[in-house]
Structures are given as C-alpha cells and as structure tokens.
C-alpha cells in the first residue's frame, strides 16, 4: 500500500511539476476566463460611436404606399444593421453600393397583396437577408391590418396563443419541458465531449508514461520493487489526480471569470442548466469511464517497447472513443432508438450513452442500476486483464504487433504452480 502511494505521488508530482502541464493548464484557464468575459473584452475594444459603422441597407420604396415602408423600416433598430432611405433610382443606388457608400440595397415595389422585395447583397449574407425579409413581412402585416380596418383588440384575438399542455401518458411519468430538455441537451453534449477529451489526453498520457519507463529500461528496476499491478493502478490514479487538478483549475478560472463578468447568461447556466442529479451522474460516469479506458491504455502502453509506438497501439482505443462520440451526438436527437439502448450496456459506450439516456429520456431506475453494475464489474475485469498483460508486457521488448505482443505478454505473466 505504501508503494502504491509512492507511485501515485511520483506520477502525479512529475506531471504537476512539468512545464508542459503547467503551461497547458494555465493557457486553458486563461482561455476559459477570457471566454466568460468575452462581452467585456469586445466592449473594451469597440468604440462608442459604433452605430456609425453598422452596415447600411439603402431602401428604394416604389410601392403604392408612398414611402410608408421606408419610414417604418428606418424606425427599426436591431443593432446589426440600419435602414437608410434613398431617393436615387435602382441603378444609381446599386452603383453607390458598389462604391461602398452603403452595403445593401433593398428594392420594394408592387401593391396590396403583391409586395415584391429585391435584396441586393454580396451573396453570403443570408442571415441579414432573412432579417430584412422578416422586417418587410411585419410591415406588410401592419399595413394590411390597417387597410382592413381591424382595431387592436381584433388583432389581439387573431394572435392570442393556443393553451398547449403536454401531459404524461403513464401515471407518475414526467414530461420534459423545453428548459429541462435544453439543460439535459447541453450537459450531455458537454459530458460526451469531456469523456472523449479525457480518453484522448489522459489515455495517451498513461500509455506514454508506461512506454517511456519501458524504453528507458527503468521499468525492470521498478517492478523488482513494486508489484506491476500496484504500479499500474498507481499510475492511473496519479494521472487521474493530475487531470483533476487540470480540470479544477479550469473550473475555478470559469467561476472567477463569471463572477468578474457579471453576465446574465452565465448566471442562467449555473442556476438553470446545471442539474445536481445530472452532475452527480456525470462525475460518476467520468470516473468509471476513466478506469475502463485508462486500464486499457496502460495495458497497451505496456505492450510497446518505445514511446513512438504508443500511437499505433492506442489506435483501437481511440477509434472506440470516436465511435462513442459519433453515436452520442447522433443519439442526442433520438435517445430512445433501440441500438442506443443496447449499446449503452457495452462498457466502452456506457459512460456516454447511459448519460445520454438519463439526460435526454426517461430510463427506469432499475436499468440505471443494472447498467452501472455491469460497468463497474467490467471495470474490475478490465483491470484484472490489463494487470495480467501489464505484468508480462513490462518485461517484453521487440517489435510491436497486437497479436504477437499480446500472446507473449500472456506467456511471460503466466502464473505457474
């Protein structure tokens, strides 16, 4: 047990003291801090007379309503562009636009029901075009309502929304509101990516660490003092601790950033998006997922002789993580399809897919417990197999190939008598 903690401290300590680790943690923390304060930063750089720089839409009004559209459009302020009245004809307005006097030209013509709007742009401004379309439509509705002689109450009757209620089919069931759905959606999205990143970075770290100790041949000396299984677990935990420090620094930077920025958006995330139950499941699944993938990564690291071969050996594991990522992103919109339910029982996919199912749909409690039990048991089994291969692998040198290396590792670690 003593040697276990010595290994944990050694592994974590080396990571935490390494310049690369300090640099990447700091830069991630600064990035997160900057992102949470993005509005303040933009404000600091943009000048006060910003509205003069807004894109200008020149409006040529040739409708039968004689400038009514232009008047109403000019009164709109949505902060992204402004409407400017022009008395020029279309050709000269277009020439002026080409000379950068204004950015877009809106040509309105027609009468009554047939209002025609032509919007001239550079061709990649579909967002603005959409907004302009929307604005013109609104004005047309207002003008027509007026023409028809409807008063405000009559108008309100037309637009008064239907009372729409969604109710559970089964007694005691729950219906996700839009908020809870979005809340779950973002958390699932975040966790799926988090697991992917953790597998990629920490899995590689574990495997590289093992392979480096092997290639510098210090491994044989270490395993003559520490049981390889103890050493492997010590490494996985040690790197896990370093990872938590990394994650913690980023979270702290985020919290500080939010409190400095005073932005409502982030308050909303903290109070409404983060659901404590989901956070609990997320942490649990990240930890179990880390052990599943970390165990395999350590085993693969032990199979190679040189650090350069680590990537080759890790490929299958990374493929699994990528497949899980794609399935989860696909499943965000269809969490109840059968293959996602089935795959959520497979240990390598459980962390992502079970969380997806808990977050996006309703999974019965017995199923959550069953899947978590399967994950925990397979975690232990993977650790046993990994430890066995690790024990043989650390004494093994030569060219790497999956089949031969695995076979040789099993021979070397053979328990006899």
């Amino acid at each position: 047990m003593n040697n276990f903690w010595t290994t944990v401290a050694h592994t974590a300590g080396r990571r935490l003291k390494s310049k690369a680790f300090i640099f990447s943690t700091l830069s991630m923390a600064i990035l997160v801090f900057a992102l949470t304060n993005i509005n303040n930063i933009i404000d600091a750089f943009s000048s006060d007379d910003a509205d003069r720089d807004l894109p200008r839409v020149a409006v040529i009004d040739e409708t039968e309503y004689g400038g009514l559209f232009t008047d109403m459009l000019s009164s709109y302020e949505d902060g992204r562009f402004q409407y400017v009245e022009t008395t020029e004809n279309l050709d000269s307005a277009l020439d002026a636009a080409r000379d950068d006097e204004h950015d877009y030209v809106l040509h309105l013509s027609g009468n009554n029901e047939n209002i025609v709007a032509e919007f001239y742009s550079n061709g990649n401004d579909f967002m603005i075009a959409q907004d302009v379309n929307h604005d013109v439509q609104r004005i047309k509705e207002a003008v027509m309502t007026n023409e028809l002689g409807l008063n405000e109450q009559e108008l309100a009757l037309i637009y008064y929304p239907v009372l729409f209620n969604e109710l559970p089919l089964h007694e005691g069931g729950e219906v996700q509101t839009v908020e809870t759905h979005m809340q779950a959606y973002w958390m699932v999205y975040f966790l799926v990516f988090a697991i992917y990143m953790i597998v990629l970075t920490f899995g590689t770290m574990i495997a590289t660490e093992v392979a480096t100790e092997k290639s510098s041949r210090v491994m044989e000396l270490i395993v003559s003092s520490v049981n390889p299984v103890t050493q492997m677990l010590g490494k996985i935990i040690g790197i896990g601790i370093a990872g938590l420090v990394n994650l913690g620094a980023i979270v702290v930077a985020g919290i500080i950033g939010v409190s400095v920025s005073g932005d409502d958006f982030f308050d909303m995330i903290f109070t409404e998006v983060l659901d404590p139950t989901l956070v609990f499941y997320a942490l649990l699944l990240i930890i179990l997922g880390y052990f599943v993938y970390g165990g395999v990564a350590a085993m693969l690291g032990a199979l190679v002789s040189r650090a350069e071969e680590v990537n080759q050996a890790l490929q299958p594991l990374i493929f699994l993580a990528i497949i899980a990522l794609f399935i989860s992103i696909f499943g965000l919109n269809t969490p109840d399809v059968a293959f996602i339910q089935v795959l959520s029982y497979v240990p390598f996919f459980t962390p992502q897919l079970l969380f997806l199912r808990i977050g996006m749909g309703t999974v019965p409690t017995w199923e959550i417990i069953l899947i978590l039990a399967i994950l925990t048991i397979s975690c232990i089994i993977i650790m046993f197999i990994a430890a066995r291969i690790y024990k043989g692998g650390v004494l093994m040198y030569g060219k790497f190939s999956f089949k031969d290396s695995l076979k040789q590792a099993f021979t070397l670690s053979k328990k006899e008598n």
Partner: protein
C-alpha cells in the same frame, strides 16, 4: 540462511530457457553465474526476484519465496541499465529507494556517502541524461545497494566500464560482501569471476554444465595447457594422441591436452627431439573452461 533454487525450469512457448537448475548460495557468499548470451542467466535472476514464475521447482530465500512483501531485502542491478533520463540523481534515488521502504532523510545521507565514495559528489542535482555511461552505471549500482539489501543481484555489473571504474565497483562489491551481503552476479568477463567468486555455476542453453567451488573445479578439470619454449618446430606434436589443440607462439607453442598423462607423453616427445628452455603445465583458466564448456563464441 541461504538462497535455495531447487529443480528450476522455465518454459517459454515450447523451449526451456532454464532447464533444471538447483543451487544453494550461503549467506555472505559471492556466487557467480556464467554463460553465453541466452544461456538463461537473466531469466534465472528474474525468477529469483519473482518477476517470472518458474514452470517447475521452487526458489526460497531463508525458507520463504521472495515476494513483493520482502522486496526491501533485495537489491537488483539489471543487465539492461535504465533510470529516468529526465530526473536528477537525487530525485530518482529518492523515488526508487522509497519503493524499497527507506525514508527520505536516510536516502539522502546514504546517497551522499556513495557519491563521495565514487568521487562524484557534484552529480547530486544532475540529470541522468547528462552523465556519461560509466557514471550512469555508478548511479545504477547505488540504486541497487542504497537500502543495504541482504541479497544483491548484479547482472553483468562490469560490462561497459573502464578499468578505473571497474576496480572502483569491484571494491564496492567486495565491501558489500564483507558487510554480510549475499551476492549473486553474472559476468562475461572471466577475469572478474576468478577474482571475486568462490562458488559458481556455468549455464549452457538453460542447463548447468559446471557447478561448484572455483578452485576445486580448476584443479580437477582434466584439460591442461602446456607452455613450451623451444627453438625447433613443434608441429610434430599434433600427432600425439590426446592433444586438443596446438597454437604456435613466437617462442614455441601452447598446447592443450586432455589430461596430465598426455602432458607426460608430450614432455618425452619434446625431450627426444631437442632442448626445451621452458616446459610448464598450467591449470586451465576459467576462460579456457568457459570456452570448452559453454562453447562456441570466443571471448564472450
């Protein structure tokens, strides 16, 4: 109070890397393990350390197998040297020796003692990758002995060392033995084995081809070498039955014969032909025995 290996065999796939070795090493003894490359020395050491399980037979140190619970008792210098290249001498010894159960304070005291002894106290805070190979080996040796093990296993301790460092290491090994450490070591360099060991085993393809007390082995070993200095051609001796080889030297020839009786025949043959200024029957060197028994490669 001994290391006992009893009928040890180790099978890899279909071959036996070690095939039926039994030996006993008494406490405080220096025991040599000889053999060509691939003879099974390192595999034997790994089995003693518990890194590999023997397929058959048993190994015990003072009656019990060596397990990770008793890892403090053993010091090991692997054949493939390896330390953490990026860590300083101090950092690495602290980690490696903590694994042997030492406290940080003791590690630093002992480390300074040994660095002084090896005349390299300035290396304490140097990274391993900055040291020369010979100096790395001193640190590697320290990693095997700093915790004062009861059993010290040295796999090729002298390979790659210059004569000065080799002697420095040799005297350190002898001091360890005087302090009561049981030492098991392997070497290709027969001269070192002759200087250091009382007892030895010689392996060939996993089997013991020779085993016992060095002096007794040499005395009872049939093969003798005769050194003859004479002015006439000694080529005619090749026809004497029982002669193994004849190498001409500038003064005469060195002749290897099967036993002392043949040496007598040679003597009379030479005396009949003419005057010999020197005729000396030597006991075989370990080098000769090694080549005769472990065979094949020269000077390995």
């Amino acid at each position: 109070m001994t290391l006992v290996m009893n009928g040890i065999r180790k099978k890899f796939n279909n071959d036996y890397a070690v095939d039926g070795i039994s030996l006993t090493v008494d406490r405080g003894e220096m025991f040599g393990m000889l053999g060509a490359n691939g003879a099974g020395k390192t595999t034997s050491f790994r089995m003693i350390l518990g890194l590999l399980d023997p397929s058959e037979g048993s190994i015990a140190w003072e009656g019990k197998p060596l397990s990770y619970k008793r890892t403090k008792l053993v010091g090991y210098l692997p054949e493939e040297r390896g330390l953490f290249p990026k860590l300083t001498v101090k950092e690495q010894l602290i980690y490696l020796m903590k694994l042997k159960g030492m406290s940080k304070g003791d590690i630093i005291t002992e480390m300074r003692h040994w660095l002084d002894r090896f005349q390299v106290p300035e290396y304490e805070n140097k990274k391993i990758e900055e040291l020369s190979k010979g100096n790395q080996q001193k640190i590697q040796f320290m990693a095997a002995v700093l915790h004062k093990p009861e059993l010290l296993i040295l796999d090729e301790p002298f390979s790659g060392l210059d004569p000065v460092n080799s002697d420095m290491l040799k005297s350190a090994v002898l001091d360890m033995q005087k302090a009561g450490t049981t030492i098991l070591f392997s070497s290709h360099q027969m001269q070192n084995v002759e200087e250091l060991c009382e007892e030895l085993i010689m392996l060939k393809q996993g089997k013991a081809v020779l085993q016992g007390n060095l002096r007794k082995i040499k005395r009872s070993y049939g093969m003798k070498t005769i050194n003859i200095h004479a002015d006439f051609d000694l080529e005619f001796l090749r026809s004497v039955p029982g002669i193994i080889s004849l190498d001409k030297t500038k003064d005469g020839a060195k002749v290897k014969v099967e036993n002392e009786k043949i040496a007598e025949d040679i003597f009379y043959n030479v005396a009949e032909t003419g005057f010999a200024r020197k005729f000396e029957v030597e006991e075989p060197s370990l080098h000769d025995i090694f080549i005769d028994k472990a065979g094949g490669e020269k000077n390995e």
